[in-house]
Amino acid sequence: MIARGFVRLVLLNLASFALIGSVAGRAHAQSTIRVPGQRPAYSFELEPHVLFTPFEAPDDPSGDGLGLGVRGTLELAPEGFIPKLNDSVGIGFGLDWIHYDGLNGRGYCRQFEYTPQGVPVCVETSTHSSNYLFVPVVMQWNFWLHRQWSVFGEPGLALSHGSDGFGVLPVFNAGGRFHFNDSVALTMRVGYPSFSLGVSFLF
């Protein structure tokens, strides 16, 4: 499962870089990436979103997942890491709920029989859906490409709670925003453990 997830992750990252590249290319004509500070002024971003994941649940063989969540990001470094670029850095905290479908043919054992030596043999399987809560904590590195476009990368960790209790997993998302105005943007992420599509409110 991990190998398949890794391949998916690589493909998703390639897709996300393609997305960023296409957005950057479109924005080149009115680029703001080399004008530090030319972007919406805000200190907190609130972003409710819907979630989708093609990845399996952390502890269960499962199918795809759908969910809801919210992300809050505090701006920590308005000037970012690179002085000559229009970048900024924040720290994001979230709460995401994802419902994973059961996966046909892969699941748990519903009934065991035992050999004369007491070795269990599963004779009937069952699949079932599962629910997980994630609490991601990420660093959000923003690049303000254009008056209406920004992109970001979000590495971090998430605490998860599911059928097997608590766990910790890595988080990596690449995303982009389309800014309707200085206060509202459409925001999309791709990556692991889930994709999101939401609306950002900048305060």
Partner: protein, 173 residues
């Protein structure tokens, strides 16, 4: 207009990526289905003729109808159950437990314990196994390296030792 197109393109890229990443293994009849990595997984087959594989897990098992093949390796506790005409292989485990019907071919090797129950006209091979217990519910042949095998025939009848390392229930081949 350009703004609307940009937003639509933005959404379309996400949708295409999402749909493209949802293909999974097919555990239905006649297909290959696999579980690996993690704690536990039990594979079922929606019918007969599945090709099932379990590996590198703590607990893993396969359940299938007739005419299936199942491989299980590098699992602490492996379980295989199958109808008739199946081919099973289990290796590199702490324990292999298997129940299969008639005409079963089962290879158990390089593992701590094999405990299997097979139907008529079955063949069991145990190689490099610390303990191999076989219950034959009908005619069967058990090939065993070393003296680790304990074979029981239907009705608790004693097996025939055909030659060193080969036991049979219901007559030697």
């Amino acid at each position: 207009m350009r703004r609307v197109l940009a937003v639509l393109g933005f959404l379309l890229i996400g949708l295409v990526c999402a749909v493209g990443c949802t293909s999974g293994d097919n555990c239905s009849s006649g297909h290959h289905c696999e579980c690996s990595e993690g704690d536990q997984c039990y594979l079922g087959c929606d019918g007969d003729g599945c090709d099932q594989s379990c590996h590198n897990m703590n607990r893993c098992g396969t359940v299938c109808g007739d005419g299936c093949s199942s491989q299980c390796h590098d699992v602490q506790q492996c379980s295989q159950s199958c109808g008739s005409g199946c081919g099973l292989e289990c290796s590199h485990t702490n324990s292999c437990g298997a129940i299969c019907g008639d005409n079963c071919r089962l290879n158990c090797h390089d593992t701590m314990q094999c405990s299997v129950e097979v139907g008529s006209n079955s063949e069991v091979n145990c190689n490099s196994v610390n303990r191999c217990d076989v219950v034959c519910n009908g005619n069967c042949v058990v090939n065993c390296t070393g003296d680790s095998c304990l074979v029981k025939c239907a009705g608790n009848a004693a097996p025939t030792e055909c030659k060193p390392g080969q036991f049979a229930c219901g007559g030697c081949p």
